[in-house]
Point group: C3
Chain length 415, copies 3
């Protein structure tokens, strides 16, 4: 995953353009992708797909002709969606187009202006302070023209058509944790699921933030009805512990599953808020999907956030592996979390004559298995899921699943 | 408010009679009142309006002819609704008619006997202890005769016919906190609301306790159905912090509003109990109105309660102003606490093209306003009120209202 | 109760057989029982009544002919439902049939094998360790043959046909706390209730564990629908404090009542689990009765559990009396916990003209009684029971009942 982050890092992504296409091409080397191109001007829900933005070069040269800001050093130096400009101007005229972080003077901020045509540069405040008076040459060699918005899907087929959505944004330029780490974890989650013949169909969406998710939602009205659960993955690689942000429903099954999976490790669970990543769109009141958001340190919660310090050194293979492990476990629980109905609900069915009872007692593993079966039998009333039963009984989910399997095989419960 | 308390203090109020009429006349100098007279004998719910009681003088003179108890010194000296008597009797015969507070020997208690015909005097236990044996002259120059019960209403018209009821009892004689302070706060709340073109119609009821509220309820069966919220005001002027007693419903909107308004200051919130002031009647199970009770130190909670120590010095202008401020804020929240429906519930509507989005970020007040709009949009599903949204988001209620106003103006939400 | 425990202790009970019959005969000396015999082979829910087991003698004699394990010393020495055997074998052959508690080496465990035909002996691990090599004579003089399962009922008639079930298992051999103490408490509860003309009909079921309760449920399909509440009594005599295990419903009336009755004393309340005593059957999802389980130290919670140390010295008359007192109080609350409807729900009805109001105040007991009446009036809306009102008001349940009685007599509330 760390290697994928390194390779993706230099690309200049935005909400449209070749940087996104190159990113998806690299992802497609690991998992097959269906890439969608949606024409500029297409109406998507309340929005319109914007013109496509591409950029080849950009710089600011000082009165001596030295490039003091250079896109080729870092794509963060240019405000995303900057309109083309080539001019000479005084520092005073230039200044309103320069963005810095006075409180983090050595870092370059990340800024965009997708829907208001302007141009600008981002630079370290230290550099800004060193600029001398005089005439500056300003160049943004970009195009903003009819084209298309690009997003991609990858599907891991399941046993049922009901879907689990895994979504991550692919529109940020050279920022590693936000969201190359999320992309890397998603790719590896897809690879892992493909080997497990999952119950649900897992759909991975790689799309630019906001407009990409909105475009996907607009073009998938029918599919949305099949989305039972979902996760937005972001900030998946920093050193912090995991944070799960609940869906708007607050008690959706995905919320229960993540709480269960995270319960034995340091973590935070926060309520839904209409700010952050694309859960904003999936959880808008009209859709109100059971989609939560899993991050390590969340949105805006670390000083490197949206700055040049969010580089590949800021994320670690260990953290991404840890995020992936939690995702895999969550999918495993989700996949087996079903409701059964006890076929012999009056009194306990006799386990002994079905070979499910250790008659003379003694072996503690047999006892534990019997106890798990009694829990599953008693609460398999069509209302309680196996996760409900695991939580109620404090029996491990896997042991509950094993008990359910034994009872299913014996015909004592049915779905 | 302190001046009004001072002026009202000397009047001898009871559940009927001229003391109530004089009180309402003084209140009417500040706000126009509709005064109602309800004839003795009128059946009101399970009760009957009692005969009217008036009193001109009362005293007990000791064997030497000295008036040891004198109504003209304080109207608390006579048990409310005492029947007329003029007789001479020994101290032993007199004693069962004398009421004192042995544990607060310098204070005169407040006692009444509305529905059981008797007469009596209240006096300081110290004075009682000093009484010598001998013949005492006893005089209660009162009348208990067919007449009427008096109560009054003041209405601040609102934009809708739905009403907020503000009720306070006007039947206690010379007791300042209970309830002249409540009357004074109610009068000033009415004056303040009149300048604010409120949403709700605010109805102020000044009525004797229990029988007055019962009479109002009996005569206003249709109006009661328009009462959406209400507050009983009492003990509004002592030095204690505020106590809000929930309506019987426990989660009525008024309960939510008061909890919100009080949250940042020292306060107590207590559950409904069928004891206290006229919330007992408004919250009887047949009506079960959303009416709470706001006091400072509540019913029976201070040693001066129902004694001669509850005099104008016991209440302060500051305390009454504080109670008034909370009432005004509660009315302001109530008035703007509405539910809206997002007209673009699928995905986020694009704020930018409607001029509601600060595209390049930066200004923190613009950010806060956008965040408030996102909260209002996401939760304006017809179920969540603006107060719900304020509580969920921890955005100030006023900022939520401002966001809702902007979204209303842009046609993004509707009522 | 201690005497009954002593008398019942030596009998060799199992899930069928003469030991159960003798036990029920002794119980029948205190309270009349209807004894039921259900033929072996009868199908009961998912189970079949097993063959009847009886035993006259059993021993193991060592190579020297000395009886090293002897049923006549303690019936715990034989695994319950051991098939007959008379043979000579080496210690190695014998060993798999011997059960000990290596961690409690001086105690004899209690073991059974009802549904898998085998034989076995239980003995102290210390004795086991002392066994020498050589040939052992093994004798189990038992019969396992068509017969019947025996259980008994005792009914205390109530004013209504709705029933409260009190159930205890009678299948354990010489174990005092589990469950002779439970039997003794049940007998005395029945005697006490008979003197109190209870509201509910109380049905006491004395039956072998699991198969007995299942048999009762199978044969009483119609009666089960009349069971409103129930208690399983077990482990009623040890020195520990009381534990109440909630019914599967978790908020059944019996759960509320036991929580109320236990609230002022050391106790534990635990959620339902499908393990323990016959609440497992009564609370199986098809029946889902409001039946909880009252014990002192619960199932498996004390080292003497299911060993020879659970002898009459382990239980005390005081503990059984304490359990009985709580059962009686629970029945008293249950019996009077009804819902009434205020006939004058609009405003407070006038208590004074009905002689229910202490007009001039003063007497604190009269005040308390009035307050209790106001609570009952306000919450008698058909939804709140007297127990709800006691909990809400913190007025003692008995005072709430007294208030309800006064209001019933005055026609102010009705059932």
């Amino acid at each position: 995953m760390a290697a994928l982050v390194e390779r993706l890092y230099p690309l200049c992504r935005s909400i449209t353009g070749d940087g996104v296409r190159q990113t998806l091409a690299m992802v497609g080397e690991s998992i097959p992708l269906t890439v969608h191109e949606v024409e500029s001007g297409t109406e998507v829900l309340d929005w319109t797909v914007p013109p496509e933005w591409n950029i080849t070069d950009a710089y600011v040269a000082d009165p001596s002709g030295r490039k003091v800001i250079d896109f080729r050093e870092s794509n963060l130096h240019v405000v995303g969606y900057s309109v083309p400009v080539h001019a000479t101007m005084s520092l005073d005229e230039l200044a309103p187009h320069l963005h810095t972080l006075p409180e983090q003077p050595s870092l370059v901020p990340y800024r965009t202006s997708y829907y208001e045509p302007t141009w600008g540069f981002c630079l370290a405040h230290d550099v800004y302070e060193s600029l001398v008076d005089g005439e500056y040459e300003v160049c943004v060699d970009s195009t903003l023209a009819p084209g298309s918005l690009t997003y991609a899907e990858h599907v891991v087929p399941g046993q049922v058509a009901d879907e689990v959505l895994v979504s991550c944004h692919v529109c940020h330029p050279s920022l590693a944790n936000d969201n190359l780490a999320g992309i890397a974890v998603a790719v590896n989650l897809a690879l892992a699921l493909a080997e497990e013949n999952p119950w649900y169909t897992y759909r991975f969406v790689f799309a630019p933030g906001t407009i990409g998710a909105i475009t996907w939602l607009a073009r998938n009205a029918e599919r949305v009805e099949r989305v039972r659960h979902g996760l937005v993955l972001a900030c998946a690689g920093d050193a912090g512990s995991l944070t799960y942000k609940r869906s708007r429903r607050a008690d959706a099954e995905i919320d229960r599953v993540l709480a269960y999976v995270l319960r034995d490790r340091p973590h935070r669970i926060v309520d839904f808020s209409p700010y952050g990543y694309d859960e904003r769109q999936y959880c808008s009141p009209g859709f109100n999907l059971g989609v939560g958001c899993l991050t390590r340190t969340p949105y805006g919660g670390y000083p490197e956030y949206h700055t040049s310090a969010d580089d590949p050194a800021f994320v670690s293979a260990e953290s991404m592996a840890d995020t992936l492990a939690v995702c895999r476990r969550a999918c495993a629980v989700l996949d087996r979390n079903r409701r059964y109905v006890n076929q012999f609900p009056y009194g306990e069915p006799q386990l002994g004559r079905r070979g499910l009872y250790d008659s003379l007692g003694g072996r503690s593993d047999a006892k534990a298995a019997q106890l798990a079966m009694l829990w599953v039998l008693n609460y398999s009333d069509g209302e309680h899921s196996l996760l409900d039963i695991a939580e109620k009984s404090t029996v491990d989910f896997e042991a509950v699943v094993a008990a359910a399997d034994a009872l299913l095989a014996a015909g004592l419960i049915k779905e």
